[in-house]
């Protein structure tokens, strides 16, 4: 979803709030990130930031996932977690959109980008 939807209220009905949550933390402008799945009831009371921390501290990662985590941590060194163009705050449900797998299973999806700010405007070296 483009960042232009930043202002748009994400409307989820009550049934959708009971779906599993797929959290994806993407390093920089990469296409894919680290995925974590939260079962219904396990995420609603927690802040999105807490969920991100939990995801980033996951153990038993594959080699590919470990590389993604390294990239994310490199971005977060002085960087921040952004979702839909703004710094994350509040719960995951505030940022979630409903999606479905190819098999037709519905889930809530929250994409988060780890971005290391790059201040422009100075004369580059």
């Amino acid at each position: 979803m483009p960042d232009t939807d930043l202002k748009k209220e994400l409307q989820l009905d009550e049934a959708e709030k009971l779906l599993p949550l797929v959290l994806e933390i993407i390093p920089g402008h990469a296409a894919e990130g680290l995925i974590d799945i939260y079962e219904p009831g396990s995420y609603a009371a927690k802040s999105l930031r807490k969920l991100c921390e939990k995801t980033l501290n996951k153990k038993n990662l594959s080699i590919e996932e470990q590389l993604i985590v390294e990239d994310i941590k490199r971005q977060l060194d002085g960087g921040k977690l952004l979702s839909r163009g703004q710094e994350i705050e509040g719960t995951a449900l505030e940022y979630a959109v409903s999606e479905q797998t190819e098999a037709g299973e519905k889930y809530l999806y929250v994409p988060i980008r780890a971005i290391k700010p790059q201040e422009g405007g100075g004369i580059s070296d």
Binding site: A31, Q118, E119, S124
Partner: protein, 372 residues
């Protein structure tokens, strides 16, 4: 000569010489009679020993030139036609510099197999895995509309037997130029023979390159035809774009590319909290110096000095890499995208221009048309 070959009139090949129809008038008739009576084989004018004039099926033909000398000197005789035939031959055997260069080009391999996977969605499922080169080529094939003709070409490309045969003939120094048999034949037939003969000569002249190409083809012949088709398509067009990531060949000779990632539309806010919708643009880096991010199209932004195309994005503390490795290309594109989308601070009004108009009059770029 071209007109003669194109006209379709009957010509004669005799003892590796080409004979042209003799124009006939009373004076020429007299001359012919002199020629024929002076010969020993006067009673058998059809018997030929590379004579100046021969008679075949009641028609007279005058001696022209040796066919092999025509082939050997064709470049000087008809440079344009030779160049056309040469190009045709090299294309037929996929020996054009572009294709050889592109398929062996390390920069392109870096872009395709190291940089591109970072910026494109590899699958719809939730597993994250590194793709092999073959899987990346499959993905490109799925996401790109490659014309059928490239699949046909791929089959020709992977058939290395004809090239091997030519190379073997050259190595054995056996004559690779088959002269046509003696007798009468149409200009069209001779034109086709000349075309093939020039092709053989071109291939002989290009021995080194054929050897190199053959080695490369042997590696590629183990690939799936669909993958070869994808690579031939990229070699031919010098362009590819998937999921907003793409590259354009800038200079085939030096294997230079513009690698880009589209920003998509994005919003920046000014000092007063007003939102400005910035249009999609291609943040680009060249694989040839300087390795700094720039915006390909005509574009305006606080970090771009003017409103024009090809402007370098002004970034603080950016140290351009020394060589275009995969990590450097990825990093440069990321820095450029981050600067455009997240680098503007409305309180500091950093950059060349402020989004909101300043009280003090400073001639600058106007962004009011982007306000939403």
């Amino acid at each position: 000569m071209k007109q003669l070959f194109d006209s379709g009139i009957e010509l004669v090949v005799e003892s590796d010489f080409i004979y042209f129809p003799l124009l006939f008038d009373p004076d020429i008739k007299k001359e012919i009679q002199t020629v024929f009576y002076s010969r020993k084989d006067v009673g058998n004018p059809d018997a030929s020993d590379s004579k100046a004039v021969i008679k075949l099926k009641g028609k007279y033909f005058v001696k022209g030139f040796r066919l092999d000398s025509l082939v050997n000197n064709y470049e000087a005789i008809n440079p344009n036609s030779y160049q056309r035939l040469k190009n045709e031959c090299l294309r037929h055997y996929h020996l054009t510099r572009e294709i050889d260069g592109v398929l062996l080009d390390g920069t392109l391999r870096t872009i395709l197999f190291q940089v591109m996977p970072h910026f494109i969605k590899k699958s719809k499922d939730l597993n994250r895995k590194t793709l092999s080169d073959e899987a990346i080529l499959d993905l490109i094939g799925k996401k790109t509309n490659i014309p059928e003709s490239y699949y046909q070409e791929a089959r020709t490309f992977s058939d290395i037997a004809p090239l091997k045969k030519i190379l073997k003939n050259i190595e054995n120094q056996t004559p690779v130029l088959d002269l046509p048999g003696s007798g009468m034949m149409s200009g069209h037939k001779l034109r086709d023979w000349l075309r093939n003969a020039v092709h053989v000569k071109v291939l002989s002249d290009e021995y080194d390159r054929i050897t190199k190409s053959l080695k490369m083809r042997e590696q590629f012949s183990r690939m799936k035809p669909e993958h070869i088709a994808t690579l031939l398509y990229i070699a031919d067009t010098g362009f590819l774009e998937i999921d907003g990531f793409g590259f354009i060949r800038k200079n085939a000779y030096r294997n230079e590319y513009y690698v880009y990632k589209r920003s998509g539309d994005y919003i920046l806010k000014d000092y007063y909290g007003r939102s400005y919708l910035f249009p999609n643009c291609r943040v680009t880096v060249s694989t040839y110096m300087p390795f700094r991010p720039f915006v390909m199209e005509k574009y305006k932004h606080p970090f771009l000095l003017k409103y024009k195309s090809g402007q370098e994005i002004c970034i603080k503390n950016f140290n351009p890499p020394d060589e275009p490795t995969d990590k450097c290309i990825i990093n440069t594109l990321e820095e450029g995208l981050t600067a455009l989308q997240y680098g503007y601070d409305p309180r500091k009004r950093n950059g060349y221009h402020s989004l909101d108009k300043l009280w003090i009059h400073i001639p600058t770029i106007d962004f009011e048309d982007y306000i939403i």
